[in-house]
């Protein structure tokens, strides 16, 4: 059964349609890369999936018992202020927000989950450091740990490697793949890097104000779209 099903979705800002004809579905454990040029509507789709932006038309359905509030999200170039005083532990723990329910404060189980995700992302040594003292790569790992606290099933990552150096980028991709393979968490990642996308993902969604392509990586490699988008070199 599908974990996510989008039917004829379209989104508009102030009455102006920016993305339409989005129609795809994903099974649990899939790894989808959303590609497309700047302004093609990738972040808008992510916001739609998160319920931050209502679709103009069409429907989004979650399966496998997934609630729209149980999605782990890593925002694009996050709006978090550079000088915000928060420890790494506090940031990761805030990912457990959606499991509070009627409780007011985090419990031992939440703290344990936060500690475990810190360890999985290899940043447990940084737990008491201030978030803003970290390097870009370390900050993204902390935010990934926070996202993992919020979900057991679906991660949405909006350009998680933008601004990272090649080594940090590689590490980030490996961590995401590891989470996808070992925990069976479905991943939807927005990316500019088409080569990395076909290397790590199982499916590709190519947007350009509408859905230009959806299918497996193998199908995408064969498409004329991929050849054009990758600059003619082939993938």
């Amino acid at each position: 059964m599908a974990i996510l099903e989008c039917k004829d979705l379209s989104f508009a800002y102030d009455g102006e349609t920016v993305l339409e004809k989005v129609d795809f579905s994903l099974n649990a454990g899939d790894y989808l890369c959303v590609v497309g040029e700047n302004g093609s509507g990738k972040s808008t789709l992510i916001k739609g999936l998160l319920g931050l932006k209502a679709p103009d038309r069409g429907s989004i359905r979650f399966g496998e018992g997934l609630q729209s509030t149980e999605i782990g999200y890593l925002p694009q170039q996050t709006q978090i202020q550079r000088d915000f005083p928060a420890s790494v532990r506090e940031v990761v723990l805030s990912g457990c927000l959606n499991s509070l329910g009627r409780r007011l404060h985090y419990n031992a189980g939440d703290r344990e989950r936060a500690a475990m995700n810190l360890e999985r992302m290899g940043v447990e040594d940084l737990a008491d450091k201030s978030y803003h003292e970290l390097s870009g790569g370390q900050q993204q790992r902390v935010l990934l740990a926070r996202a993992l606290c919020a979900t057991k099933k679906l991660l949405l990552l909006d350009e998680p490697v933008t601004g990272l150096d090649p080594i940090a980028t590689g590490e980030m991709y490996n961590l995401i793949k590891l989470v996808n393979l070992c925990d069976g968490i479905t991943v939807i990642m927005v990316s500019h890097d088409i080569r990395a996308a076909v290397r790590y993902a199982t499916h590709i969604l190519h947007l350009g104000h509408e859905q230009l392509f959806f299918g497996s990586c193998a199908e995408y490699r064969e498409s004329s779209l991929a050849r054009r988008f990758s600059g003619g070199g082939g993938l």
């Binding site: 998160l50 319920g51 931050l52 609630q67 729209s68 509030t69 149980e70 999605i71 999200y73 925002p75 996050t78 709006q79 978090i80 202020q81 000088d83 915000f84 005083p85 928060a86 420890s87 532990r89 506090e90 940031v91 723990l93 805030s94 990912g95 927000l97 959606n98 509070l100 007011l104 404060h105 985090y106 008491d128 450091k129 201030s130 003292e133 926070r146 919020a150």
Partner: protein
Amino acid sequence: MSEFVRMLSYHFMQRALLVGVLVSLCAALLGVSLVLKRYSMIGDGLSHVGFGALAIASALHLAPLAVAVPVVIVAAVLLLRLSESKRIKGDAAIAIISSSALAIGVISVSVTTGMNTEVSSYMFGSILSLSRTDTVLSVILSAAVLALFIAFYPRLFAVTFDETFSKATGTKTEIYNTLLAVLTAITVVLGMRMMGALLISSLIIFPALSAMRVCRSFRSVVITAAAVSISCFLIGAVASYFLETPTGASIVAANLLAFAAFSLAGRKH
């Protein structure tokens, strides 16, 4: 020493110290979120609205807090909406509302009572201005502010740190932003009697800024800001009693010294 004991034996001083400590604590806790969310302007705007409301209450011989608290709460919700709306220039709208409220207050004072000691205490603050009912109401309201802040601490942190993430995971962020604005409104009105309309916003902003100079976690910022705020209030209030300087200004001066000291300490890291 005996002077000090005598000071503490006055009822007005006991009331002022009790309410002052509680209000300083509330102001510091809320201040951390307000400064980080770039809402400092709201505190300033609210103090002007509060002055307008208190001036009108005094002109009409109404109970000051009973008029000012609801008026300022409404203003807080309005200012919050304005500062978040993308269409209007939020900060300009806040400036218009706050100066209009100040103007209305000044006009209503000048056509009725004139500049009496009560009105002047709203402007510049006075520890003598607290009546018995004011004291009881102040204690109850500040206890409520504290209780709500502590109860919703994890949510307030998450909404302050990353509103989009909190919203995406199902948190009703508007509720917590409104809660922050309402608690700030209550704190501003309570603090205004002591600090004065002109100086109350510094009670909110200064301790948070001082704490951020040295602390690395949100929790330590909150705790340090609370400690700084209470200490500076006590030092400023006692100094103003002995040196016969205005209360609000003395407390701000103490906060300024604390900020300078924390800035120096923070630079060593």
